[in-house]
């Protein structure tokens, strides 16, 4: 057991990376449009549609209100439907992505809403369509915020993925709980914490740099 601990760590790290990367990608691809729709359909938005705004807002709130561990269990039937199984790393991607999407949508919404309305008016006055406004104004102008928000989402997901151990997803969190907590192996526990701190620091550092690169304000 002790002899192969580097293997154990490597596998757990890889599983964590796989879960957060896959679910993070889905959360970005689904959350950004959701955030855009929330901003566009809000009162005073570029495509005001109050009923849609209310419905989407309520759904997003509902998902955000449910603790992730509950979501994980509640989504088991859906996970089985999509992933074919409800156990393992791949299966954990489904609830992680579903939990992170509304989370990121809200963060994206805040960044997008902060874009100066004068810029939207300027492009409108050039004859730009709504799609042009989204492509040339909203997304590029909010990009630093969108990237910073995505970093926050990824960091939160690294934490949340630990809970996915409950459905046998593996990963660093699972390692810490099974070996460190349940078998009183303090060495592994501390090791996991150090790896997590390093991982989060790298993600945060990279995210900050990226956000700054696109910030010309």
């Amino acid at each position: 057991m002790y002899s192969n601990w580097p293997d154990l760590f490597a596998r757990a790290l890889l599983e964590t990376l796989e879960m957060t990367a896959a679910a993070g990608a889905i959360a970005f691809v689904a959350g950004l449009p959701l955030g855009l729709i929330l901003v566009a359909t809000a009162p005073g938005g570029i495509r005001e549609l109050r009923w849609l705004n209310r419905i989407l807002g309520a759904i997003v709130n509902a998902f955000r209100a449910v603790p992730f561990i509950v979501l994980l269990v509640a989504l088991i039937p859906l996970t089985r439907l999509i992933a074919g199984t409800s156990i393992g790393t791949e299966a954990a991607i489904v609830p992680l992505a579903i939990g992170a999407t509304p989370y990121y949508a809200r963060i994206a919404e805040v960044s997008l809403r902060d874009v100066d309305y004068g810029l939207i008016e300027a492009v409108k006055s050039m004859g730009g369509s709504r799609w042009t406004i989204v492509r040339e104004v909203l997304v590029p102008e909010a990009l630093p915020g969108l990237l910073a928000g995505f970093t926050v989402t990824i960091v939160t997901m690294i934490g949340a993925s630990a809970m996915a151990g409950a459905i046998g997803a593996g990963g660093l969190g699972d390692l810490a709980i099974r070996y460190g907590y349940q078998r009183f192996n303090t060495g592994i526990m501390v090791g996991v914490v150090i790896v997590l701190i390093a991982l989060v620091s790298i993600v945060q550092f990279g995210g900050d740099r990226l956000a700054r690169r696109f910030d010309h304000r």
């Binding site: 300027a122 004859g127 010309h216 304000r217």
Partner: protein, 385 residues
């Protein structure tokens, strides 16, 4: 590139491409020179436009025209409805009632998609510039061309021309945050001109700039107007802006037009109270010591204070010298200025007469009334030093 009219054919109410009108000529291959006058005249025709926001009436029965090649200034105090009015001209705001014709076409009932095509040929510049921070100067200027579907190679050339026009060729790849206010507005102007607009709208375009930068931006607008024959509507709360660049001025007060006319006429003979007050701040002010001592009736030992204005050719007459000779009085000049508005001279003097006594005061008044454009008896003041 394209002819000034090819985007809109009022006859068939359709958009046509590359059919030059009789007023445009091709020079140097691709370039099209726009001639200032096109039959049919008005670029903008606003008819009985009213607009309310809830209980606030922003515009009330506004009617006016803007001729091709003209610079129209719209002036008014804060909340007069200037922004609302100019936003009606490109459909950013829909009037509650009335017509807004652009090149003969009422844009009020147009659906959004058609409105976008109209807006592609109406440039607009803003008080706070509204440049996209994530795009370079060149990308900002190219955006209207991108929207109009101009291929990128052609865009590049045009952007270079435009940046040269506004004197910012060396800033093409810089981000707007690195520019001064005046430079930002120059980029705004280049961007507004990119799609060869038939009309340029300026919403308080110089209000965020210092006086010197303001003059340089106004000179640029005037130059563009002269060279391209571009029609410009600009709104402002500064009389000075109107005086410097506009041909004609509309004075807006609480959503209504209270005065309209050629700038020199409005300046030399303002009719509405508001206009007089707006101009009043511009012409000479009395020293406060004199103003506070002014009384309405003459008493022994007080001086008569008059303000007189001479406009047009009258400004060249030596009226004060003649007065001195004919009535043998000695006017003391308290303040004097000569301004030129559209090549019309406007001279204005504030003068005092030493203890004239009532009969002489009356004779001075009568003498001047027939010789100056405007005479104002300010009152009597205790013997000046």
């Amino acid at each position: 590139m394209s002819c000034c009219m090819d985007w809109w054919d009022p006859e068939t109410a359709a958009f046509a491409e590359n059919i030059p009108c009789s007023d445009c000529v091709r020079v140097e291959g691709d370039f099209v020179l726009r001639r200032p006058s096109i039959p049919g005249g008005a670029v903008v025709r606003v008819g009985n436009v009213s607009k309310s926001f809830g209980r606030v009436t922003a515009l009330k029965d506004v009617t006016f025209e803007v001729q091709r090649g003209e610079i129209l200034g719209i002036i008014g105090r804060s909340g007069a409805g200037k922004s609302t009015l100019i936003r009606c001209l490109n459909g950013l705001e829909k009037p509650g009632r009335g017509r807004v014709e652009i090149l003969g076409q009422d844009i009020v009932p147009l659906p959004e998609r058609r409105l976008q095509l109209v807006r592609q040929r109406i440039g607009m510049i803003f008080q706070h510039f509204n440049l996209l921070s994530a795009k370079t100067v060149a990308e900002n200027v190219a955006l209207p061309l991108k929207i109009a579907g101009v291929p990128w190679r052609e865009r590049d050339f045009r952007v270079q021309d435009l940046l040269a026009l506004v004197g910012l060729s060396d800033k093409a790849s810089v981000y707007p945050s690195k520019l001064s206010g005046g430079q930002k507005q120059r980029v705004g102007i280049a961007r507004a001109l990119a799609a060869e607009p038939a009309l340029l709208l300026c919403d308080e375009a110089t209000s965020a700039l210092d006086p010197e930068t303001t003059s340089s931006i106004l000179a640029l607008l005037r130059d563009i107007n002269r060279r391209l024959g571009l029609t410009i509507v600009l709104i402002t709360h500064e009389m000075n802006v109107v005086r410097t660049v506009a041909d004609r001025v509309i004075v807006l007060d609480q959503g209504r037009i209270v005065e309209e006319g050629d700038v020199w006429r409005v300046f030399t003979a303002p009719e509405a109270d508001l206009t007089q007050r707006l101009i009043g701040g511009q012409t000479n002010e009395l020293p406060s010591a004199i103003r506070s001592g002014l009384r309405n009736e003459w008493r022994r030992g007080t001086d008569l204070v008059l303000r007189l204005q001479l406009s047009g050719s009258a400004a060249e007459n030596p009226v004060l010298a003649q007065l001195t000779r004919d009535l043998e009085v000695l006017p003391v000049v308290l303040d004097a200025s000569v301004q030129r508005v559209q090549d019309h001279a406007l001279a204005s003097f504030t003068v005092a007469f030493r203890d004239p006594g009532e009969p002489l005061a009356r004779r001075i008044g009568e003498y001047l009334a027939s010789r100056v454009s405007r005479l104002e008896v300010l009152g009597y003041v205790q013997q000046l030093a």
